[in-house]
Symmetry: C2
Subunit: 275 residues, 2 copies
DNA sequence: GCGGAATTTCAGATAGTCGAAAATCGGCCG
DNA sequence: CGGCCGATTTTCGACTATCTGAAATTCCGC
C-alpha cells in the first residue's frame, strides 16, 4: 500500500499463501509437513503453522501423525464445486484414459471457456518427456499449440479475427506461425480436416495432434491432444490422428446425448452436462 | 486476539473468507457477483472486492462482463491436486453413474481415508429428496449410516473397538443403534452379507443400502450407497442391493488391477490408483 | 521420563477490515 | 459518436488482525 511498485493494486498475502499451502498439501500426497511447506513456499514457519491451523479449523486439511498434513473433508466439498466448473467431466476423463491406452503416448484434455483454453488433465506416456511450462491450468500461446488451433478453427471467423487483431504472434520456436494470413490458411485446413497438427511449433522436438469436441449447440468446448517426440512422429502420426478423432467423436456424442436444462438465477438456461 | 472466547486459537480471517469466496464462485456457475457474494457470505463489499482481486491476480477466478465472476485456469491446477486426494477417481465416478442408471435412485460414493468416511460425490434421483446436512464433504455419525457400517465391518475389530471405546452413540432417529453390543452384532452381519442396510437409522423416512470396495491389500477404501424413501424401500431393496454390490465389485476389480507402488518419504509404501 | 521435533507465544512492525465516499466502467439514448 | 446514468470497483483514514524473528512450550516416539 506504499510501495511505488510497478503493478500497483494490492493483493491479500494471507489468501495467496493459504491457497499455495492448500495446493502444496494436496500435491504432496499426505507427506507435507509445516517445515517443508514453509521452506518450499518461502513462508516463515510460524506463519505457515498459522495458515495450517486455519485450514485445519475449516476442515480443508487434516493433521496426520508425525506432523504431516493431508487434505480434509472440506476439500472434498471445494473440490466438487471446482470440478464442476474447472475440471473435465469424469466421462471425458475416461475417454482420455482410453485415448492413452490406445496411443501409449502422453494424452491431454483441455477445456474452452470464456475465450481461454485450459489444460485440464493429462496422462503421461511411458516414454514421457515433459514440456516445461505445460501443466494443468496452463493457458496461452493460442497460435502455437495444436489444441488451440483445433478450437480456433471452429470458432466464428470474426471472433478469431477480433482475438488476434493487432496482436503480434510471438515465435516460441523457429517453426511457430507468426504470420496472420498463414494462420488463417492453417485454421482453414484444420477446419477441413477436423484435427490440428503441431510440428514443433510450440516446443522443439515435440509434435502434437489435436481434435476438438462440441457441445449440443455445435460450439467447440474442448480438445483431446496427443504429443510425441519428433523422432517418433512419422511412425505414430496415423495412430495419433485416429485416436484423437475417435476420442473427440465419443465426447461430442456424449455431450449431445446428455444435455440437460440447467436453471440459472436470472432465468437464462444454459446447457450443461448431466452428472 | 483479545477475545476471551471459548475456542481460543486464532484463525486467519482473510484465508477463511477467501476460500468461501472461491467455493461460492465455483458453486454459482459463473453467475456470482461481488455484491451477491458479499451479502451471501456476510463480508463487506469492499473486502469482497479485495478478496476477488487477489483471486483474480492469482488466476483462481476470471472476471466476466457485467461484473460476474467465474473460476479461472489456476483453479484447474488446484482442482487437479485436490481431485487426486479428495475426489473419486474418474473410473469410480463412472461406476457411480452406472449405479444410478440402474437404480434410478440417489447414489453416492464415499472414500475412507485417515479413519474418516467422506462423501465424495452423488447423483440425485429423479424423485430426489435431500437429506439435510448430507452433502459432499460430509463426515460423521459413524454408527448411524449404512456407508459407515459397510466400512467399519471390514476394519480390524480392535481398531473399531478403539474407535468407539467410551464414546456415547448418539441417537439421530428413534431407530439409530445406540448400544455397543448391538453395533458389534450388526457389523458382524454386515461382514457376513457383504453390504449394509440403514432403515431410518440416520434420517427418518430414508433407507439406504451400501457396499464397500477394497484396494489391492484388501483394506476397504470406499463405499457405494443408494438411498430411497422408506415408502419405496420394500419394493426396491433387491435392486439396490444388487446394484451396490455390483458397483463395489467393479471398483474392487479396478483397484486391484491398477495398483502401483507409490513411494512415501519415510519408506512406507502406500497403495494408490494409477492414473 | 528423555530428547529432539512440532507447535505456540510474544512484542513490535505491517498488512487487512470497516464504512463511506469518490472514481471508473459500460451500456444506452439522442 | 459523445454524454449521461446506474452499477461496479477503488480509495481513504481509523481501527484491528496478521507477519516476523526468536524463544518458550508442548508433543511424541523411544
Amino acid at each position: 500500500m506504499s510501495e511505488p511498485e510497478a503493478g500497483g493494486k494490492t493483493v491479500l498475502l494471507t489468501l495467496e499463501r493459504g491457497l499455495q499451502v492448500l495446493e502444496a498439501v494436496a500435491a504432496a500426497d499426505g507427506t507435507a509437513t509445516a517445515k517443508v511447506l514453509s521452506r518450499q513456499l518461502g513462508i516463515k514457519l510460524g506463519t505457515c503453522y498459522h495458515l495450517l491451523r486455519t485450514l485445519l479449523a475449516g476442515g480443508y486439511v487434516v493433521r496426520l501423525s508425525g506432523g504431516r498434513y493431508d487434505v480434509g473433508h472440506r476439500a472434498a466439498s471445494l473440490n466438487r464445486h471446482l470440478q464442476r466448473r474447472a475440471g473435465p467431466a469424469p466421462e471425458l476423463a475416461v475417454i482420455l484414459a482410453r485415448l492413452h491406452d490406445r496411443t501409449h503416448e502422453t494424452s491431454y484434455i483441455s477445456g474452452w471457456q470464456h475465450g481461454t483454453l485450459t489444460l485440464q488433465h493429462y496422462i503421461s506416456g511411458p516414454h514421457a518427456m515433459s514440456v516445461g511450462e505445460l501443466d494443468v491450468g496452463y493457458t496461452g500461446h493460442l497460435h502455437a499449440r495444436a489444441s488451440c488451433k483445433a478450437v480456433l478453427a471452429f470458432l466464428p471467423e470474426d471472433q478469431v479475427a477480433a482475438m488476434f487483431k493487432g496482436v503480434e504472434l510471438k515465435a516460441v520456436t523457429p517453426r511457430t506461425i507468426v504470420d496472420h494470413d498463414h494462420l488463417t490458411v492453417e485454421l482453414a485446413r484444420v477446419r477441413r480436416q477436423g484435427y490440428a497438427v503441431d510440428r514443433e511449433e510450440f516446443s522443439e522436438g515435440v509434435c502434437c495432434v489435436s481434435a476438438p469436441f462440441f457441445d449440443g449447440t455445435g460450439s467447440p468446448t474442448g480438445v483431446f491432444t496427443v504429443s510425441v517426440p519428433t523422432t517418433r512422429f512419422q511412425e505414430r502420426q496415423a495412430t495419433m490422428t485416429m485416436g484423437v478423432r475417435e476420442a473427440a467423436a465419443m465426447a461430442t456424442g456424449l455431450l449431445r446425448g446428455r444435455v440437460v436444462a440447467h436453471a440459472v438465477p436470472d432465468g437464462m438456461v444454459r446447457p450443461c452436462i448431466a452428472r
